[in-house]
């Protein structure tokens, strides 16, 4: 029974991971850039939601009205000032720039909210739903639902819309896409801003389910890397599969071993995948 509960929890958590990882994966797929600031931006959104909730009593989900545009704005500014100057140059440059940006974000969060752990605690945060022997916590269900909307929406957008097709074309072969009349720089910008936008949803959900503090982004970015590498770059289905594998693996680890070792699962999976199959378990060979 413990296993069933662990699997259910793992799937719910995996869904939550997917919302953030899908943005990272699209950015990596289109721009060949690893947005190491992804988790830090999500965390910033969680903090904004925290202030909106604790000072003005705004429900964390409703505060997306505020955090989503904020994240899109941050994404746009990042693209303009950090990404565009190094587009198509060695990946080291964008990595260093984004690490610099991460430092700034973490410092700002420390100054604004201190290093003390925070949590979003709306009235429903402690409630849960019991189906037979399995318990579903309300915040996790809510997070899973929000993530499903984001991931599902993105999947449909990428598959059906003209812009989505242009994004996928740029992912597959930027040269060919350019020759077919796709403005690849603009597509890159849209993909980047959209990807960063998913961090807002991810951050709100993160804040609802977990206790958070400024340095937490390091732990989360590791999970996201792991999912993207497991799932293969730029594939929504791959991200879903990778996120579920990670969520269930962590949850099972925490069931059978001291919970602290669950933190290790993402990194170990990540390193092993890179060593054994750098194209990702579910990805096509690039």
């Amino acid at each position: 029974m413990a296993v069933l509960q662990a699997v259910v929890t793992g799937i719910l958590v995996g869904g939550i991971y997917a919302a953030m990882a899908v943005g990272l994966s699209i950015i990596f797929g289109v721009l060949k850039i690893i947005n190491v600031a992804h988790a830090a931006i999500a965390l910033l959104c969680a903090y904004v939601a925290y202030t909106a909730f604790s000072v003005f009593g705004v429900d964390p989900v409703a505060s997306l009205v505020l955090t989503l545009p904020a994240a899109l704005l941050i994404g746009g500014a990042m693209f303009r000032f950090l990404i565009r100057p190094v587009l198509g140059r060695p990946p080291l440059l964008s990595l260093l720039l984004l690490f610099g940006f991460v430092n700034v974000l973490e410092g700002v969060m420390l100054l604004a909210w201190t290093a003390d752990p925070r949590a979003l605690t709306p009235s429903y945060s402690a409630s849960s739903l019991q189906v037979g022997p399995v318990i579903f916590s309300t915040t996790r269900l809510l997070g899973f639902a929000a993530s499903s909307v984001v991931v599902g929406g993105l999947a449909v957008f990428l598959r059906r819309s003209f812009l989505g097709r242009a994004i996928r074309a740029t992912m597959e072969d930027p040269q060919a896409a350019l020759l077919m009349g796709v403005n690849t720089v603009r597509v890159s910008m849209i993909a980047f801003v959209m990807g960063v936008g998913t961090a807002a949803v991810g951050g709100t959900v993160l804040g609802l389910v977990y206790v958070f503090y400024p340095a937490l982004h390091f732990l989360w970015i590791g999970k996201l890397f792991c999912i993207v590498v497991l799932g293969g770059v730029g594939s929504v289905g791959g991200v879903l599969a990778g996120a579920t594998v990670l969520g269930v693996a962590e949850s099972l680890t925490a069931t059978f071993f001291p919970a602290v070792w669950a933190e290790l699962v993402a990194y170990v999976l990540l390193v092993l995948t890179l060593w054994i199959r750098p194209a990702g378990l579910f990805g096509r060979l690039a």
Binding site: P85, G100, V104, E106, L110, F225, L264, L270, L274
Partner: protein, 307 residues
């Protein structure tokens, strides 16, 4: 290479005379930290600058060395002056063990893999009983010495490690190894087809690049007398080391020395006068500014190439 060699040795000897004077302990502390970061940044540069494999987890090797001496002290009471090189060996052995699968990876995956390695070690150190878990480890100097003597001795040892690192960097730069590494950086496949033994050279660069941080970490554990996973496996160490190297000028011998000195002094000033959070913001801003506006580092700006 005669002149840089003389300057390096001369400056180190001069710095080594400091404890003989009536200098305040704080000055010794500051110079020890500078010497340590020069070691870390120069060692990172062997792999990241000369070879073009930027490690994002070099702090891990520093931490491995620190934990090695602290554990050898706890279990066998061995002095850090003996065990610091063992710390370096452990770090180098660990890097050699992960080298084969890791050095094959493309640049961005190499960065992620090295970064993850640092996190794995941090989580293990924080939770494993053998490494003291969350309680950390103590490495206390014998009480028969006074603080000044102990600090001075560790300072001299750190200077020795720094000198060794710089001499290796100077040697690498002017040897066949250095030309081979530069060839790998500028085009690994081409270098391979021209008969450069790329795998062997990369391994050698990695081992040299991790041995010295491990040794420095071994001394550091004893210097601060208490270590835990947050203190020596902090991810910011790895990022700061990269920043120091590229601020001065990656791929040169003088660059990391310059960058480390500047940033350690700046960091001390900020931490004393303002707060650590502001330091994060400033270092982040400097990192972005260097990459965007001064990608060759300060040395390229002054137009000089040393070493």
């Amino acid at each position: 290479m005669r002149r840089p060699l003389l300057v390096t040795v001369g400056a180190t000897v001069l710095a080594a005379l400091l404890p003989l004077t009536e200098s305040p302990i704080y000055l010794i502390h500051l110079l020890l930290v500078i010497a340590m970061y020069i070691t870390l940044a120069s060692a990172w540069n062997l792999l990241g600058g000369f070879t073009g494999y930027p490690s994002f987890g070099h702090g891990a090797f520093f931490g491995l060395g620190a934990y090695t001496t602290a554990i050898l002290f706890r279990d066998f009471g061995l002095s850090p002056f003996l065990t610091a090189p063992v710390g370096g060996l452990v770090a180098a052995a660990f890097s050699a063990a992960i080298a084969y699968p890791t050095l094959r990876l493309r640049e961005e995956y190499f960065a992620i893999a090295t970064m993850s390695m640092g996190f794995i070690l941090q989580v293990v150190a924080r939770n494993w009983e053998f490494t003291g878990g969350g309680l950390g480890l103590y490495a206390q100097p014998p009480e028969s010495y006074d603080i000044r003597t102990i600090k001075s001795l560790l300072y001299l040892a750190m200077l020795a490690v720094m000198l060794a690192t710089l001499l290796v960097a100077l040697w690498v730069r002017h040897s066949r190894l250095g030309f081979g590494l530069a060839a790998i950086r500028d085009g690994e496949e081409a270098a391979g087809t021209l008969g450069v033994p790329t795998v062997r050279l990369k391994m050698l660069a990695l081992i040299l690049s991790t041995f010295f941080p491990g040794t420095a970490g071994g001394l550091w554990a004893y210097y601060i007398t208490y270590i835990d996973a947050e203190a020596v496996f902090e991810p910011s160490i790895s990022i700061n080391v990269i920043l120091m190297s590229i601020l001065g000028g990656a791929g040169t011998v003088l660059g990391p020395v310059l960058g480390a000195t500047l940033l350690v002094v700046l960091s001390e000033v900020i931490e004393i006068t303002i707060t650590g959070a502001v330091k994060l913001v400033m270092f982040g801003a400097i990192l972005m500014a260097v990459v965007l506006y001064l990608p060759g580092g300060l040395l390229s700006w002054t137009g000089r190439r040393a070493g």
